[in-house]
């Protein structure tokens, strides 16, 4: 009998479009650590030690193939003085927009060293890197420069900027690009293996392709090129097919896929060019029985796993608080049952 691969070997093998021993499982457990710990999300994320402890715990409990250092998207807006709203049992959200369109003229690139929420993530990354010893991938997260303004300005104001104020849009992209690449590279230096680049705004669900290609796309290409490590582009469950070739051209090695398109179809379009990450429906998971969880895992593995180039995960990039732990355990059981190659 051969020894099982480490999580890192498994993932690297899949990324090179070969079949590892079994399908890698990325349960993207961020907020879920708070639920496991019995602490409120606010308390949980306030101390790096909490996050490290429960990343280690959940890795074992759910037989996960990665550590996930993500705290919450709104942490990045704290860099511009933004407030974060912390519900008792759900994901933190950005408070009021942090600047107006006019404010873009006076905007600066914040120094991440001065932002406690980001420094905590770096501390978590450093500690996990010493535990992982190169055998477990550590996934860091950034918001793309093109998607971050939804929280910086508010969604409506951002759409107005995008359509009607090109000069200020360009100025904001300059600042966000600088911030994003610095933040991504700091996480890589702290020990992250790869960066998950959340960019739902590039989905044709949100912005039409022609507008995206003339606005956000050049920014995304340049930013991803400046990130000194592997990048996973994630559209947070937005549709990917219409722009999949453009995403591949950014140099992203992994693509997060949602539920509105069949993994089969995306597989055909991308075979050999990018690794797919997905696509169990996290919003439905709270209502899944153990049997449903198992069926869903089997189905997606059969569609997408043959030949490698596939990592099983959820469709959004974060397991919701409300998902019962028995569902997560059934998912990892099903990976053990159906995920060994040949699948």
């Amino acid at each position: 009998m051969t020894t099982p691969m480490t999580s890192m070997e498994r993932v690297l093998c899949s990324l090179s479009h070969n079949e590892p021993d079994r399908v890698p499982l990325f349960l993207l457990l961020s907020l879920y650590g708070a639920r496991e710990s019995g602490l409120s999300p606010k308390e949980y994320f306030s101390k790096p030690d909490n996050v490290v402890k429960y990343q280690l715990f959940m890795k074992e409990k759910y037989r996960n193939d990665c550590f996930y250092t993500f705290s919450y998207a709104a942490a990045e807006t704290e860099a511009w003085g933004g407030e974060v709203l912390f519900p008792a049992e759900g994901p933190p959200n950005a408070g009021k927009p942090v600047f107006t369109i006019d404010g873009i003229d006076r905007l600066y690139v914040p120094d991440i060293q001065q932002v406690p929420s980001l420094m905590r993530v770096l501390e978590v990354t450093k500690q996990l890197a010493t535990k992982a010893k190169g055998e477990i991938p550590i996934i860091g997260v950034v918001m793309s420069p093109f998607s971050l303004p939804v929280m910086q300005l508010g969604f409506e104001t951002y759409l107005q900027l995008l359509y009607f104020d090109q000069p200020r849009f360009i100025q904001l992209m300059k600042i966000n690009k600088q911030f994003c690449q610095t933040w991504a590279n700091a996480q890589l230096e702290a020990g992250a293996t790869a960066i998950c680049y959340f960019n739902p705004l590039c989905s044709t669900d949100i912005i039409e392709k022609s507008l995206y290609l003339s606005t956000g796309y050049p920014v995304d290409r340049a930013t991803i090129a400046a990130i000194k490590g592997p990048v996973a582009t994630h559209l947070a469950s937005g549709r990917v097919v219409p722009i999949v070739n453009e995403i591949i051209e950014t140099g992203s090695q992994i693509l997060g896929v949602g539920i509105d398109e069949s993994v089969d179809l995306i597989e055909k379009k991308t075979k050999g060019k990018i690794t797919l990450l997905g696509n169990l429906n996290g919003v439905e998971m709270p209502n899944w029985s153990e049997e449903t969880a198992s069926d869903k895992v089997r189905e997606v593995i059969q569609q997408a796993a043959p030949g490698g180039g596939f990592i099983l995960s959820d469709s959004h990039g974060e397991i919701p608080w409300q998902v019962p732990e028995k569902v997560l355990i059934s998912i990892s059981d099903a990976v053990e049952e159906y995920g060994y190659y040949p699948v």
Partner: protein, 213 residues
Amino acid sequence: MSEDLEKKQQLVRALVSVDKSAVSEILSTEFTTKGIDHVADTLQQALEEIGTAWENGSMSLAQVYMSGVISEEILNSILPANYLSKLTQPKIGTAVFLDHHNLGMKIVSSLVRSAGYPVVDLGVGVNVDNVIDFIGKEEIKILLISVLMLPSALAVEELIQEIARTYPDVKIVVGGAPFRLDTNLSEKVGAHEMGKNAGEIFEILSRLKRELI
């Protein structure tokens, strides 16, 4: 293609390319030749088509949003004064429950206003008590609720139970990403209707109006 269908198609193209002057010209011509009811009808059909196109992936949310904003603006500029107050439509209330993400609600209310319904907005981040007060004070007949976060969507169940106790005749329509991504959720929380896209609101309102009569 019939003349009406062609007009609708022209309008859809003008709306999604954010061409305000073309939209204004089409609607003004329709208004002078065929009257305001026809304008509202054409606009409603165009917006419905854009909403469905978003859901099946052929149009973007930005285009849906811009179409709503432009429609509302132009309709307001050509509507005869006090036109809306003469209509006998049920009063509609809108609220973003617990959440602070108002874009979905904003789009839906632009569409509903463009169809001539009186709409009152309670705002974002509201809780059960706020909604109950609001329904009473504003005499709301149909309540539209939007959420983006899953915990807010789940908490709608409690809100609906409270409304059913206090104002049993009020009709409740829910929408937003969690309801779209888990199509069983609206039934679970007890909503009367769920809109997967903003454009569906027209058909939903026609159905509910029949029930209210």
